[in-house]
Symmetry: C2
Subunit: 201 residues, 2 copies
């Protein structure tokens, strides 16, 4: 029972470990709840820089970083997923984010997003590598040459900047975040609550 008036925005950053958790389960949970999901990739880097951080808080605060890895290991074990922190963390998510925006326009953002997260956090691939992105696109039956060529074009660059500015203006400070009307929910552990809020309509 899908009700298009019930909707939720899913704001995510490709370098974010907890966003991976949400990306893998949001479609099934939202579908069961009758809530439509709008996929909103954005960059956390500029938002972190504005609050004085030059890298992930999980690098800045090592105890927090150690807990994050163990926390996600425990969660993926329950959910039947795999997880390993990539050699470079956080990864540069600029190109993947621009491709995802194109995917939003063309209707393949959800499977592309899941495939990027699996490559990054289950298989240890480098998502800043265009060959990795091309292989993902090919695996989805899309045309990598056409799409990769779009990455450097000004319209997509501008679209990502605007999306990130919009996130900041909406008060987002981390990822994943879920927005329902004026309500902001932060963290994979708030997904069920955000969906319940969306169901109130």
């Amino acid at each position: 029972m899908s009700n298009q008036s019930l909707k939720l925005e899913f704001w995510y950053e490709f370098a974010s470990t907890y966003s991976y958790l949400s990306a893998m389960r949001i479609e099934s949970l939202a579908s069961a709840a009758g809530v439509a999901v709008e996929w909103k990739p954005f960059l956390l880097g500029p938002i972190f820089q504005a609050q004085g951080w030059h890298t992930s808080p999980f690098n800045l605060y090592p105890a927090k970083g150690r807990h994050m890895v163990r926390d996600i290991e425990r969660i993926v074990a329950e959910r039947g997923l795999r997880f390993a922190l990539p050699g470079t963390f956080p990864q540069n998510s600029l190109q993947a984010s621009r491709v995802a925006l194109l995917g939003s326009d063309e209707g393949w953002v959800a499977p592309f997003t899941r495939a990027v997260y699996l490559a990054e956090f289950a298989d240890g691939a480098d998502i800043a590598d265009r060959a990795v992105l091309a292989a993902i696109l090919r695996g989805l039956g899309l045309d990598p040459e056409r799409i990769i060529a779009r990455i450097d074009q000004p319209d997509l660059k501008q679209q990502l900047k605007e999306q990130t500015t919009c996130a900041q203006e909406r008060g987002l400070f981390g990822a994943p975040s879920f927005v329902v009307g004026d309500e902001l929910f932060w963290g994979d552990d708030r997904l069920e609550q955000a969906l319940a809020w969306a169901r109130r309509g």
Copy 2:
């Protein structure tokens, strides 16, 4: 069915809003799970200072602070609790923590802890005020004069310092935290998971 071999450490800071949430529900959840709870008050201040913070991250990062307040408002509405951020935040929790340590030795730490959190986050009282602590103790049928006089004694001061150092050595970086053997769980939203872990024995 209580099984004293199943246990969980509950590390909390009296100034912490999310610790309030856990304090109000941990005894009933743990009891239902047959897990014994060890109440461990400690100070986050020295731990935050060691990572370069001079106050709560909710003050340092205002967007995060705004979300925390709204997040807790939504949660307390579901749980039938009240919440308002006190005029001074974070409050100075030094004296309440020392009293709680005495309560651990004497067996009244759980009701004392809940009463302090309710005074602070439901009724807006200042828990750094000895008259507030005395009224709480009196309400629990304890002797405020004897107990308040213990606050400045060296043994209790030393005990709190050691507990805080122990927290830091165990890798704690926030509150509430739950420890089961070598496993660390951070945040009220991990309480159920920590109890499930404790049940494995």
